[in-house]
């Protein structure tokens, strides 16, 4: 259940005497590092850019001794919602998120299943192989893909040497390169929750299914798959949410056609110094991501009620 992501719920069930401190501490943490920054970003998104320090106008202003003027600039939001470019970036980001999540699922599920059903002594080494890349910098790993995908890179040279292609494939700086990079980078986030789920699967359930006349493939569809749904959901959210806002991978591997919100945000913030517009972008992105999350949680709790 996605609710488990909330540390608060886990903590609040234990250690009764210090209950208030216990519940209070995580909430305080959330207040300080989530709610407060959110309020600040929200406030900036309603301001206007200016060349000053800070680079946005204040929302409130004393017109004279007794009149406090509040200026809320909703223009950033209307621009973000209505402008073709931003809309395309949002749609493209969601699309990339969706395709990458599916890609991770298609590759990650068999991997997680194989690890979960591997002999006991193989599981830890196999899991280590999934986790090991994390020990190298994310940036370096994405850079490495440039070396692999570029015109006279490893992949093209390999394919040319084999005689499978006559001229180098143009993969780098295309949407394909973004997909490759994203699926590669986020695969562990799919595999690990799926593994956690699948390794708990009671194998006698599959024996029971076989005993009742179910061929292995049908047993998988009717027993394993439905029971691993929480793992699929957890993994998909862990991949989808960060991918939609991903900046580094599309920036390094993508081309001019890989419009993504993360990149737009970066440009507005650092190149155009338009903090209010960047903030508005960030908030719309947040709203887009919260909606499916809440919907999923609702759906799942309804499943549990039944």
């Amino acid at each position: 259940m996605p609710g488990e992501f909330l540390i608060t719920r886990l903590l609040s069930r234990r250690w009764r005497p210090g209950r208030w401190l216990n519940i209070g501490l995580p909430y305080f943490w959330l207040l300080l590092f989530f709610f407060l920054p959110f309020v600040i970003v929200f406030q900036i998104s309603l301001a206007e850019p200016q060349i000053a320090q800070p680079p946005y106008t204040a929302l409130t202003e004393w017109v004279d001794e007794a009149v406090l003027q509040i200026r809320l600039n909703l223009g950033n939001f209307t621009l973000v919602m209505e402008d073709e470019l931003y809309r395309a970036a949002f749609l493209n980001s969601l699309w990339v998120g969706l395709v990458s999540t599916l890609g991770c699922l298609l590759i990650g599920y068999p991997m997680a299943y194989a690890i979960a059903t591997a002999p006991e002594r193989w599981r830890v080494p196999l899991l280590m192989m999934i986790i090991l890349p994390f020990w190298t910098s994310f940036l370096i790993r994405v850079y490495a893909w440039i070396g692999i995908l570029k015109g006279n890179g490893l992949l093209n040279n390999f394919l040319l040497a084999l005689g499978l292609i006559d001229e180098p494939l143009a993969i780098l700086h295309t949407q394909t390169a973004v997909y490759i990079g994203v699926v590669y980078s986020y695969l562990p986030f799919m595999v690990l929750p799926l593994y956690a789920n699948l390794s708990r699967l009671d194998l006698t359930l599959l024996e029971a299914a076989a005993d009742l006349g179910c061929r292995p493939w049908r047993a998988f569809l009717r027993v394993t798959l439905p029971l691993s749904l929480p793992g699929i959901l957890a993994g998909s959210l862990l991949v989808f949410i960060p991918v939609v806002g991903e900046f580094v991978i599309p920036d390094l591997l993508g081309g001019p056609d890989s419009l993504m919100v993360g990149r737009m945000l970066w440009t507005e913030f650092f190149s155009n110094k338009d903090w209010p517009l960047a903030s508005a972008l960030a908030l719309v992105l947040l709203a887009l991501l919260v909606v499916p999350f809440v919907a999923l949680q609702r759906w799942q709790s309804r499943l549990e009620m039944e």
């Binding site: 006698t204 024996e207 299914a209 005993d211 009742l212």
Partner: protein, 380 residues
């Protein structure tokens, strides 16, 4: 050598009928897991309509044998026939066999109804017929009210019924039950034992069950196979296994027993004379030809022993000792009598009189007796 109940007039049981064809035939089956020999050259015939129990301690191979019948495992050696068909290499999903798992293995994401229906769906049974069959099964096991609940919303006893309903739904010819009552508390267990037997008689399916509980096996089974270390030690009716165990292992596994070591030193008609330790001389019914000097073990059940002045026949065996311990269980009392520094003999007596009038006390010297036909001579 298997003894059988000496009842000449009674009709032959199916396993005594030489013309009957076994429904399940297990022939020379072994199952090795690396170095571990879970089953070693096991052969067994089970007949239609039997309530057959595989009984043994943990690790004796009984569950392995059941899984081989279900097709969840394949033998290293040997062949298995069910209803005349060689099923040795047939996968579980094709066998006309269903199993009730020890853990019940109910699908947690399905309702009770969907669980029972699961096997029927695999058969592609039409919907109307399916609903009818599910209803029939739920009624049979009195779980109609639970049909919309999920396994985690019902009690252990109810889960057991759902598991049974699910395994019966396809009307299998052979039902395998792995410790079917293992997870139930004692009271529910006793109740369910009788219910299972009644159910089996009603639907006429052959049952093969695995249990480590000898009482359970005795209550329910038509026949019992006692297993140890991957082998079948004895196959017989509960009565025969109890009264005429064929080995020390079976004698001491089923119920409690007193074992006296000795050597054959004579024969008088159907009886042999055995010399035990401490000048104990025993006279026992034994038709088996045993040469003089053969070391034997004499097994005597605690309830076959009586206090001495009571009905002592001329040929009865006797042993004396001092009462060391008395356990009062209500209906019976158990006495531990020290007959020699090495040997403690257990004797049970029904408490036919109120406790206050009990005759024996601690430290009392007693002589116990048992007749020649009440002791079993074991050579293995």
């Amino acid at each position: 050598m298997a003894h059988s109940d000496a009842q000449g007039q009674a009709p032959l049981a199916v396993w005594q009928d030489p013309t009957a064809k076994p429904y399940v035939r297990i022939e020379g089956v072994s199952r090795h897991f690396g170095e571990v020999h879970a089953l070693n050259d096991v052969s067994l015939d089970i007949y239609q309509g039997e309530f057959f129990s595989l009984l043994g301690g943990s690790g004796c191979g009984k569950t392995t044998l059941l899984r081989l019948l279900a097709g969840l495992d394949t033998p290293t050696q040997g062949r298995i026939w069910i209803d005349g068909v060689d099923v040795t290499d047939m996968p579980a999903y094709r066998r006309p066999v269903n199993m009730m798992f020890q853990s019940y293995a109910l699908f947690p994401h399905m309702t009770v109804e969907a669980n029972v229906e699961f096997g029927l769906r695999q058969e592609k049974m039409p919907k109307v017929e399916r609903a009818e069959r599910v209803g029939e099964m739920l009624d049979l096991l009195h779980i109609g009210d639970l049909r919309k609940r999920r396994p985690d919303q019902i009690s252990g006893g109810q889960r057991q019924r759902v598991a049974l309903a699910r395994s019966l739904a396809k009307h299998p010819k052979l039902l395998l039950l792995d410790e079917p009552l293992g997870a139930l508390d004692k009271k529910l267990r006793t109740h369910t034992q009788f219910e299972l037997v009644k159910l089996q008689e009603r639907i006429g399916i052959t049952f093969v069950t695995v249990t480590h509980d000898q009482e359970e096996a005795m209550t329910m089974s038509s026949r019992i196979a006692v297993m140890d270390a991957g082998q079948i030690i004895q196959v017989d009716t509960p009565g025969a296994i109890y009264e005429y165990p064929n080995s020390r292992m079976v004698a001491s596994f089923i119920g409690s027993v007193n074992l006296f070591e000795g050597k054959v030193f004579g024969r008088e008609g159907d009886d042999i004379l055995v010399a035990g330790d401490d000048r104990l001389v025993m006279r026992l019914r034994c038709l088996q030809p045993l040469s003089l000097g053969t070391p034997v073990t004499v097994a005597v059940r605690p309830e076959k022993m009586r206090l001495c002045p009571e009905c002592q026949g001329p040929g009865d065996n006797r042993v004396g000792g001092r009462v060391e311990d008395i356990a009062y269980l209500g209906n019976v009392s158990i006495f531990h009598v020290r007959v020699s520094p090495k040997q403690l003999v257990t004797m049970t007596m029904a408490n036919t009189q109120p406790r206050t009038e009990q005759v024996l006390t601690w430290g009392q010297e007693v002589t116990m007796t048992w007749s020649a036909v009440c002791g079993v001579v074991l050579t293995e």
